[in-house]
């Protein structure tokens, strides 16, 4: 069996599109968790981003407005989560689940009018000269805006967390909220910012699905990607660099599954569909077994903070 260059290129291109939504959503959650907040509502925020992005792009005809709407919708859904867990110190696990259930329901309700409508696709950027290069051109220089944005955001988050004062404060809040509070930082305000950022990025990830991956609206179209993004954050040991690698590895495994199916190997389609979930479980087990020093979760992850006065 020979695989020609164009087939390989097609596979690599699909891997990029499969990885980007995961990377975006997981990057947001990474920042949220670094601030000590566990938001299990990623799936809900993603699916809201997907429906909002689709709806706005379709009604305005402008996919970039759709991208903005997706981010806003994700952040808007994150707001009640922030209010409950940060201001009312509600249980983060339960509130995150509520957010997912609400997002799935609300997106279904909003999206009902859009089922079956052809969407607006986010254009691939064309850089004259560079994107015309053989093989690597379309791969590296012919992607859409969100692909570049996801990589740029990964670098920015890494710089922010480990080379900026604000990032240091955010990590301090996540690792020891009592000390951060004693030093005069507003734990609640830092966490609010992190939660809204996480929501916006989850929304972007969802928007990528309905604007670029498959430009249409299907109910529950995130299909568990929000949960996989949560697993990727654990897998990355809360480090942006490893998150990029993890997201792309994950995208690759998923796409290779479909590729194998395309070769006509006698494997049930359901088994290949189950592959991402099974891979997630295996990855979680592997990473949890061999967690090294400095790879631990933020110490205050999931813990509520009530300032004592």
């Amino acid at each position: 069996m020979t695989i020609d260059a164009s087939a390989l290129q097609a596979v690599l291109l699909t891997i990029v599109t499969a990885s980007t939504p995961l990377l975006l959503a997981a990057l947001g959650e990474l920042v949220t968790e670094r601030a000590g907040v566990l938001n299990l509502g990623v799936e809900g925020m993603m699916v809201m981003g997907a429906v909002a992005g689709f709806a706005v792009a379709l009604t305005t005809g402008n996919p970039y407005l759709g991208v903005v709407a997706a981010a806003l919708a994700g952040a808007a859904l994150a707001a009640p989560f922030g209010f409950l867990t940060l201001n009312l110190v509600a249980n983060q696990v339960a509130t995150g689940l509520a957010l997912t259930l609400l997002g799935l329901g609300l997106s279904g309700l909003i999206g009902e009018a859009f089922v079956g409508q052809p969407g607006v696709r986010l254009a691939k950027l064309h850089i004259p000269g560079l994107s015309d290069l053989p093989f690597v051109g379309p791969l590296l220089f012919g992607q859409d805006l969100l692909v570049y944005l996801s990589i740029a955001l990964a670098v920015a988050v890494w710089r922010f967390l480990f080379a900026s004062r604000a990032g240091l404060v955010l990590r301090a809040v996540g690792d020891n909220h009592a000390s951060a509070h004693a030093l005069g930082y507003s734990v609640v305000r830092v966490r609010w910012a992190a939660v809204l950022f996480g929501g916006a990025l989850a929304g972007l990830g969802g928007g990528y699905l309905s604007l670029a991956y498959t430009p249409q609206w299907i109910e529950n179209m995130t299909a568990g990607r929000g949960w996989i993004a949560l697993a990727l954050v654990v897998f990355s040991s809360w480090r942006p660099g490893r998150l990029v690698i993890g997201a792309y590895l994950f995208g690759a495994v998923t796409i290779l599954g479909f590729f194998v199916q395309g070769l006509g190997v006698g494997v049930p389609a359901q088994l290949l569909s189950a592959l991402p979930y099974l891979v997630t479980v295996v990855a979680l087990v592997a990473i949890s077994r061999r967690r090294g020093r400095g790879d631990a979760a933020p110490a205050c992850l999931g813990k509520s903070f009530v300032p004592d006065r």
Binding site: V89, A94, G105, L109, A274, V285
Partner: protein
Amino acid sequence: MRIELEKRAERSKTLAWASPVIAVLATMVTGGLIFAALGKPPLAALWVFFVEPFASLWSLEELVVKATPLILIGVGLSVAYRANVWNIGAEGQLTAGALLGSTVPILFNAWNTPATLLAMLVLGAIGGMLWALIPAVLKIKAGANEILVSLMLVYVAQLLLDWLVRGPWRDPHGYNFPKSVAFENWQTMPTIGEGRLNLGIFIAVLIAVVLAVVMRRTIKGYEVRVMGEAPRAGRFAGFSADRMVLFSFLLSGGLAGLAGVIEVASTVGQLQPNISPGYGFTAIIVAFLGRLDPVGVVIAALMLAASYLGGEAAQIALGISDKAARVFQGVLLFWVLACDTLILYRPRLVRGPTAEAAR
């Protein structure tokens, strides 16, 4: 303007009772606003949604039928959550239970004895337990996050079901529909009266009562509460965190599996790709609305069952999308969690600068 929380000297007993009621009322107000936003008459819609399910004998029967799986799963989850063990994959355990329980009618179709149904129920519970055992063991042996693993396995279980009913277990005389053979009457739950009411509700209530006694009156119940609230103290008392994870998953998974097999052996009557409208997830809301207490769960399950019925009725009567029911369920859980804060804290609206800025 912001909110400051002041810790109460002791948890408010009045509010512990009142908070679920306040949450339900707040959900109704929110629901009314959503209906108004959808351009529907809010009061009429609320009536259809929340009152009519309780208003006729037929719908009361249907209410109980829908509450049955919610009670079974909800009581199991309430114990697990009390122990601070987060099984959110009950939907998958429900599916696994339905699958294993259905091996009897599908593979041993001719086996007609009084023990047939009992064997199905036992296998259903075992199926749920086995599926729940995976996240429990991975948590204990490898430290893998049980929330994520149990949730991933929901998708796997549903795909397994999908493959079986489209492949090896498809009814050969079923005109190629993705369905198994229809279960015979000795393979289904005995019904009570003319309608769909069946023995399942008695099993569910009985289990809820047993668990209420266990949680209130036995050492095991004490162990669950201690390990949930003060795991360090629990370890000094000789309780094992690992054993608690295992116990919580086996109990909640087994009950979800039982709910699954009861569902396919009563209202569904065969295996098909969709056997549950998300009972395993709705039961999470049931557990919290019931204040993680088995008796509270029974009441909460009736409430949530009503939301399914109300959703169907509102669709027929007023053309409101059946998705509205799911939105309500999510909103309800939000309000429940918000109101629960009131039990431990007294919120105050504060004007002016924050405490930090004032220092």
